[in-house]
Symmetry: C2
Subunit: 484 residues, 2 copies
């Protein structure tokens, strides 16, 4: 049965036939504009078309069609990614997974749930919280981002300090490979399943190795109790030292967040102000959770540590409402920058915790030299830093300056033994910065892996790895040597 759409493009017609309805394909320019970028907005490209498959078989048929006809293609969830991983830089066919959004099953006894990739992160916790369970990875966009996208980017969140990032919560995946084959990987959560860890390999591969169509996740029992502490420091060095002291005391907080002066200015000017003083250099938000009996002791230890580090004011949340307000203030921190700046660029570096003071002072220097303000919001407990470069795209040259300042921040992270992304991925944004942390041989080891999955490199090409440079020659030499 032919799907009736107005097009002379045989590929568009064929793709429409696969999804079976004119309402499940977009190909007019005015419809495609909404898909020309994701959460990283500094590059825009139109896709060839956007298709909305309803199940794994349709994804497989779409992929096989694209592969057989040499059409570039990529998968997209909610489009909240911050590094441009879903931008169709080659005019890709976008396979949108938003129609595959069911919660397929929950197995409380073995603590697993199975979801489709378009299922929204926060919905899972909402669906199981009445039984006392939740899903741990909590990116700030969790109210709208999809679990499929979280898998692609190996998303983190404030509570990953204690509970780990997405990869620590994925137990199994159904994947459509770039040739259309469907495989199951991960053996449903067995810690050390036989064979290679393809589950770990696919998770965080930024949509370059396959398209995930079903996800088995771990669900956790709600902690019996949780409590949050807020601490204001006049000096950032004292706040940083308190972070180290808390960890050294053997406490593993569920979350340990820091914001600096500029970030505080932003969050206090935006939707959820809570009255942070504007003259302090650092605020810490520290949450502990677990069995009730242990919480108070840990809170007391944390208060003690902060007092020993010249804290101006420190206290635990009075009630759940106050705790909720503090978190809303923090979780909307990126967007809050819009209240004090026309535009902002979020960066995402990682450093050893012990280097915090040094890195912050070097970022200050970058800010001074570029003439752009840089706010810092970060998951201090695990050293994941988010410098927010504030700029105004309407002023000629400022976008470029902001990108350069962001890149310089990442160079600082790499210099002190850290790396260029903690949770936002590389995408197109940080491709060239991969060279800050990998040499040619190391990049080749990775692109070789991509090439065995993504044989024709039609799936999300041009992402994640730097432009080849010397790698191409080295690969040729290696092939010649192997052929001897």
């Amino acid at each position: 049965m032919a799907v009736k759409i107005k097009t002379n493009d045989k590929h568009i017609q064929a793709l429409a036939e696969i999804v079976g309805s004119p309402r499940l394909i977009l190909f007019h320019q005015e419809d495609l504009i909404a898909y020309d970028c994701d959460g990283f907005t500094l590059h825009k490209h139109l896709p060839k078309a956007v298709v909305f498959p309803k199940d794994t078989q349709e994804v497989s048929r779409l992929v096989r069609y694209c592969s057989d006809n040499d059409l570039p293609f990529l998968a997209r969830g909610a489009g909240t990614g911050l590094s441009g991983g879903a931008i169709p830089v080659n005019g890709e066919v976008i396979i949108s997974l938003v129609k595959m959004k069911r919660l397929l099953s929950v197995d409380f006894e073995n603590r697993r749930a199975v979801v489709e990739p378009g299922y929204v992160n926060l919905k899972l916790t909402n669906s199981i919280s009445d039984k006392g369970y939740y899903y741990a990875p909590d990116p700030s966009s969790q109210y709208c981002c999809t679990i499929g996208g979280n898998v692609a980017e190996n998303a983190g969140g404030a509570h990953c300090l204690k509970y780990g990032v997405t990869t620590n919560h994925i137990l199994g995946l159904e994947v459509v490979l770039p040739n259309g084959d469907i495989i199951d990987i991960g053996q449903n959560g067995i810690q050390d399943a036989p064979g290679y860890d393809l589950l770990g390999l696919l998770t965080g591969s930024e949509g370059t190795l396959g398209i995930v169509t079903k996800i088995t996740v771990r669900i956790l029992k709600n902690p019996e109790a949780k409590q949050t502490v807020l601490a204001y420091f006049d000096k950032v060095i004292d706040g940083s030292q308190a972070v180290s002291d808390i960890i050294s005391a053997g406490i593993v907080p569920a979350a340990l967040e820091m914001m600096d002066k500029t970030a505080i200015e932003g969050v206090e000017a935006a939707a959820f102000p809570v009255g942070h003083p504007k003259d302090i250099e650092a605020v810490l938000l520290i949450e502990v959770d677990g069995i009730s009996a242990g919480i108070e002791e840990q809170i007391n230890q944390i208060l003690e540590v902060c007092k020993n580090r010249n804290v101006r004011e420190v206290r635990a949340a009075r009630d759940e409402q106050e705790r909720g307000r503090w978190w809303a203030n923090r979780k909307t921190g990126f967007g809050a920058m819009g209240a004090i700046s026309a535009d902002y660029l979020v960066q995402d570096g990682v450093i050893p915790r012990s280097k915090l003071p040094e890195v912050l002072s070097r970022i200050n220097k970058i800010s001074e030299e570029s003439g752009l303000r840089i706010a810092n919001i970060f998951h201090a407990g695990d050293g994941n830093l988010h410098p927010l470069v504030l700029f105004d795209a309407r002023i000629p040259g400022q976008s470029e300056k902001a990108l350069a300042a962001g890149s310089a921040c990442l160079q600082v992270c790499a210099d002190v033994g850290g790396t260029i992304t903690g949770e936002h991925g590389v995408g197109i944004e940080k491709k060239e910065e991969m060279r800050f942390v990998f040499n040619d041989e190391e990049i080749i080891a990775q692109t070789n892996v991509r090439d065995v999955f993504n044989t024709k490199n039609l799936l999300n090409a041009g992402k994640l790895f730097p432009s080849p440079g010397r790698c191409v020659e080295i690969k040729k030499e290696m092939k010649a040597a192997a052929a001897q």
Copy 2:
């Protein structure tokens, strides 16, 4: 400067030159016999030679020599592996890493240590315990197995229920690739490092993708307190149900071990008897750790759960001595089978926790049908089962019967949604059983990955994957299709 050894074999001479001393190479048959198998003793093969490099550069030069001259080779640690991963089935050159056994550095502030691959697991904890730290993965062989071998097998242990297996504690690796190139992977412990997760891929790849020459591991702060409970159950069904109840109560024990009646008979006849009653069907050993304030509450909950499940006797350890005796009794459980049987075969399956009673009863049936006793010792908390098939190799046909019974146990695990290995690896022992859990496409996806690293398949060939069967044809078809 030529190394003087008595050989006409130019390859042996060349390998000796690389390690630089006649004392660092073995090639006489009487010396090689010690290397004809590892902890899996049912297959034996002599290596061509055994070499003992002192550093990464020597490993690289040995590997390059083997690769250039088409000599099969493999790496070996302490040889405690239980699935035959270090057996030279192709007459390999064995690259023994036991001389590379240094603790290179410890960074308490950022909680990392760097070791060479031949460093013994337990030595690490012993070296840092005075500062209040330890290394979590604790395979029963930890007093002699090497961390390099742990990485190859992604080793587990009793405390992996709470703390995860080896892969959760590896932060970075230096790896010699099968062509001799040296790469660094893992970015030193950043949770979500950019690029593909090669660290996860290499960990547990059973020595088929590269040779690890340096390892950065996570170290943990000692828990403030720990306590262990012992519980005797007349009926295994009650013990199993208690396991589920403890987890459902939201407690995450550090360890949750079970032994059945035959296993108890063994451990009570061996070196560390503790007086377990012999007429019970199950003993549970349950350990909790964490901050002091919470321990007592958890112990009380556990006692309560056991009482609700008809426990015959349950109590917490009186003191550290008693706790130590209980663990010595459990940790020597495999070897203890030697006290009640001439030979034994350890199997290693994984099942969903909820299937415990069903699986145990099916294993009993396998035991009856084969006429061989089967003891069960297992990490009950994470469903990792170790059926120990007791047999006498001197009786013709019994070895084969034992292998068949072991394989049948794994088929049961696969049938209920589990898998064929939890921590011992596949090696040569369970190659064919891989088909219980992977179809052709899934095996091909894995061997394709192997082939990009191990291009000539000289490194530890013939391990981990089943004999090709239909995979060869499928691969040919795929290649032909890709070439079109």
